[in-house]
């Protein structure tokens, strides 16, 4: 804080000094009285009025910028001058490069989509009776802090479908169209005749013979997942000319059962699909019955038995929203949820100022609604759209909170952005504020062109 005050003090002193110098006593040589500016005020009066603003700007904007630039040239302790080495670190660290890449994605995608959505909402709500209510709802997320929004979306994207809304929807839709396996997660007892084969199925090593039952032991099914009313498993009776056998849960509580033997009390597994495979082709197939027995026709004799993967395929777990590949798009979506309302309100305000006659004219001339939108509304709104996009771009370059909160630690690096990396480098364990300042300077350089563009556009507008 002390240096800031010093800076402020010098700024103030400088202001005072210059005013003193600029307001010399009425010089006899000039003979035109006290010098006055165009506005007719004395320069020192102007300086006095400007002083508070200058002090504040100097202390809160100019000084931090200058200090950050200076700090970026020093090492982690801030004691040794190391030139541009920190910038070298920034551009060689793969984590920071991910951040740069993600920032590019953010700047390109987020403002565009948010503005486009805002435009659509604004134009459509104009024509709806309940437009105001709709606008209010879309704008509502803006009233929530980034932190709260981050926590909301952390929950929305939760992997467990019973907790995360996004996955609850995905799983519900998925399960409507596909059947669930009878015994998810189960598999044959290891060291039995069945060995894992392609695609999660299990195939017997020996060929099935008629007359000797081929029993298929399964394990890994919780006792309470066995359907209620399941019968005790029964050895299949050998029948001439056909292949028979039993599918059962080869496990008794307490581990008291003998592996591979149908012990009394072990449950039959009904509804398990058993296929007979000859030379890679399915020649026959059957389902196990209530008592676990199955019967395959004569064609199955000499074939290998296979339990297809559909018996065991695990439950569909939904999309891994916050996994390494999807985390950035997921967070961008939450950002758009927040800021589309902002874009909508600004664009709607712009739309109110657009002359209606032009649209009416176009409609009278036979243009359809799309043509009106495309050829009249959008061009007339262009200045507003640019303002909104540019504002959002500046906002997005600085994005920090959403990423910090939503990304779980395991994919934080995949979701990294410059502002987050700035924080992590400066305070997150590495404690290298030199590198942190360097990232700050880079962020400043990235924002500058957008700012300059914005200022120039404003000036142009002011001149008009």
């Amino acid at each position: 804080m002390a240096p800031a005050q010093v800076a402020g003090a010098t700024a103030g002193a400088g202001g005072g000094g210059s005013s003193a110098a600029a307001a010399p006593p009425p010089g006899p040589g000039k003979g035109s009285g006290p010098r006055r500016s165009v506005m007719g005020t004395r320069p020192w009066v102007a300086a006095v009025f400007l002083l508070p603003a200058l002090v504040l700007l100097g202390a809160l904007v100019a000084y931090p910028i200058v200090y950050t630039i200076k700090r970026s040239l020093y090492d982690a302790d801030g004691s040794a001058f190391i030139g541009l080495k920190n910038f070298g670190t920034v551009f060689s660290d793969h984590g920071i490069l991910t951040a740069v890449r993600n920032n590019v994605v953010w700047v390109v995608v987020a403002p565009t989509v948010a503005t486009a959505l805002g435009l659509v909402f604004a134009v459509l709500t104009e024509k709806v009776r309940w437009g105001t209510v709709f606008k209010l709802i879309v704008f509502m997320p803006m009233a929530i802090s980034m932190l709260a929004a981050g926590i909301i979306f952390r929950l929305v994207y939760e992997q467990d479908p019973s907790q995360g809304v996004a996955n609850a929807v995905v799983v519900a839709v998925h399960d409507t169209f596909t059947d669930n396996a009878a015994y998810p997660g189960a598999r044959p007892r290891p060291n039995s005749d069945l060995a894992p084969s392609a695609g999660g199925s299990f195939t017997s090593k020996s060929a099935a013979a008629a007359g000797t039952p081929a029993d298929l032991p399964l394990v890994g099914i919780p006792q309470n997942k066995v359907p209620a009313g399941a019968q005790d498993a029964r050895p299949a009776s050998p029948q001439p000319g056909v292949v028979t056998g039993t599918v059962w849960l080869d496990f008794r509580p307490g581990g008291t059962g003998k592996p591979g033997v149908i012990d009394p009390g072990e449950k039959a597994l009904s509804g398990v699909k058993v296929q007979a495979v000859k030379d890679g082709k399915v020649v026959a197939s059957a389902k196990s019955g209530k008592d676990g027995t199955y019967k395959l026709p004569a064609a199955a004799v000499g074939a290998q038995l296979r339990l297809p993967a559909s018996n065991f395929s695990g439950k569909y777990e939904g999309i891994n929203w916050l996994g390494p590949s999807l985390v950035t798009p997921s967070i961008i979506a939450s950002y758009i949820w927040m800021w589309a309302g902002f874009a909508m309100v600004l664009i709607a305000a712009g739309l109110a100022g657009v002359p209606r006659e032009l649209m009416e004219q176009a409609r009278v001339d036979g243009a359809n609604e799309w043509q009106v939108f495309r050829r009249i509304t959008v061009p007339l709104l262009a200045p507003v759209l640019v303002v909104v996009t540019v504002t959002l771009m500046i906002n997005v370059l600085k994005i920090f909170d959403l990423v910090y909160i939503i990304a779980p630690s395991s994919s934080q690096q995949n979701a990294n952005v410059l502002a987050l990396q700035l924080y992590l480098s400066s305070f997150g364990g590495g404690d290298d504020q030199g590198v942190g300042s360097a990232i700050g300077v880079i962020l400043l350089l990235l924002v500058l062109p957008v700012m300059i563009f914005n200022i120039r556009r404003l000036r142009r507008e002011g001149r008009r």
Binding site: P222, Q412, G428, G429
Partner: protein, 464 residues
């Protein structure tokens, strides 16, 4: 009302003094005179009483009107338990202490506070490496004579040395943990007919047996990187031996060393088998530590039969599940890997003073005392290296046995490796070892890749 409180307080102090004087006659005179006097002479009575075999001879200064801030990583039941110790301290000294949770990125939290000029008075550092970092920066205040006296009286040299750096004693390891144990659900074990394994091979076999019973065997809290580093450290200490362990902890050998490869391959035998991990690797990555414990001890069948973590798991079990430690939940020592001995990895939180003044020192003195350890121990989920503490203070046999084995191990233990490393490598969310092992959990087949990443991050953080 106010007077009454004041009077009760004086009575209490008087009572404490009387009971102290009964044991140590010399203390009576100065204790009755007032706390200021007592403070000056306290070192003499303390030594006198310790010679007479311990007892309540703790002298704390009068701190009425003083506010103390204590920061530590604890939350939930651990925090509640510690609050009892703070309450007792407030009662004895009249100070007003507040607890501030630091969150997982502790060095960041404290670093920012210290640099901002508002450090807490006392902080408990979860990472030994952070103690070194902070001491080097001159942020820590060495222990005063009273705290030092309690420390030398109650703690073995091994624990004292861990709290020292470059010849100065900075900290008190008041709360430690035995990180070499696996907790299991007794119902799930008896249902599967499984028994406590002694070796890693047995452990895998047990897990297999449990899987066959239909209960997912092992719960891993992969969303918290530190649980993964603890898995690795136990395997490494047992497999590669203590000598290599110390070398790797100091980064004298590289992470690309063949011993690391062996340890990761061993760990991959568990992480790579989706049948053995509750929820598979992806599920494990989405499970944080509290959930990993809770899901092991709720439901029938539970979501997992075994969970690995330190003794403080018992506090989580008692607070968040209906299971009873000792009957429903039991533990067995981490199995020995290969030909090595069963590992004893321990961790701990070291109390350090960040501010000068009698308050911080008095609190550390109290923390180092047997009185504080006793209150702390009664809540469960707490382990003290304080050798003067009567084992009867622990609430159950499980906890008592863990404490007994820890005290019996004397100085024959190894401190958590990731906690000895610089924070950027071993103690920051989403970075360094935490992140690299999370990646390994998802892709356990890529041992070489994990090693390369670990080495790159380690080299950066150790600066070598």
């Amino acid at each position: 009302m106010l007077r009454l409180t004041a009077r009760t307080r004086t009575t209490r102090i008087a009572l404490a003094v009387v009971s102290a004087s009964a044991l140590a006659l010399t203390a009576a005179a100065c204790g009755g005179g007032g706390s200021d006097d007592g403070d000056k002479k306290s070192s003499a009575p303390t030594t006198a009483s310790s010679a007479s075999g311990g007892g309540d001879a703790l002298q704390l200064p009068d701190l009425h009107g003083q506010k103390l801030e204590v920061a530590a990583v604890w939350t939930g039941p651990e925090q509640k338990n510690f609050q009892k110790v703070l309450d007792e301290f407030d009662k004895r000294t009249g100070a007003k202490t507040t607890f501030v949770p630091t969150g997982d990125s502790q060095s960041t939290f404290l670093g920012t506070k210290i640099q901002g000029g508002a450090p807490p008075d006392v902080a408990f550092l979860a990472q030994n490496g952070v103690l070194h970092q902070f001491a080097d920066k001159g942020w820590l205040k060495p222990l005063g004579p009273e705290a030092q006296a309690q420390l030398s009286k109650n703690f073995s040299t091994g624990w004292q040395q861990l709290g020292a750096w470059k010849g100065k004693q900075y900290g008190v390891y008041a709360k430690v943990s035995n990180k070499s144990m696996i907790w299991y659900n007794t119902a799930a074990f008896s249902n599967a007919g499984a028994t406590e394994p002694k070796t890693w091979a047995d452990f895998l076999k047990t897990a297999e047996t449990v899987f066959e019973s239909g209960t997912p065997p092992v719960s891993v809290g992969g969303a918290d990187g530190w649980t993964l580093t603890d898995w690795f450290e136990n395997i490494y200490l047992s497999q590669a031996g203590p000598a290599k362990y110390d070398q790797l902890a100091a980064h004298k050998i590289k992470w690309t060393d063949p011993s690391v490869k062996d340890a990761l391959t061993t760990l991959g035998q568990l992480f790579g088998n989706k049948d053995l991990l509750a929820g598979g690797p992806k599920g494990a990555l989405g499970t944080d530590f509290p959930k990993s414990v809770v899901q092991t001890f709720t439901g029938n069948p539970p979501a997992a039969a075994m969970v690995y973590e330190a003794d403080f798991v018992s506090a989580f079990i008692s607070a968040n599940t209906k299971a009873k430690v000792g009957t429903d939940a039991k533990e067995f020592p981490f199995p020995a890997v290969g030909t090595g001995k069963a590992p004893v990895v321990s961790g701990g939180d070291v109390g350090v003073a960040l501010k000068d003044g009698p308050g911080a020192q008095a609190l550390l003195t109290f923390i180092a005392s047997t009185d504080a350890a006793k209150i702390w121990a009664q809540g469960g989920g707490y382990l003290s290296p304080n050798k003067s503490l009567d084992l009867a203070a622990y609430p159950d046999d499980v906890q008592r046995n863990i404490a007994k084995s820890l005290i019996a191990a004397g100085d024959d233990f190894r401190f958590d490796m990731s906690d000895q490393a610089p924070a950027a490598f071993g103690g920051t969310k989403g970075e360094g070892e935490w992140k690299d092992l999370q990646d390994f959990l998802v892709k356990p087949s890529d041992v070489a890749g994990a090693q390369a990443k670990l080495e790159a991050d380690a080299a950066k953080a150790y600066g070598s």
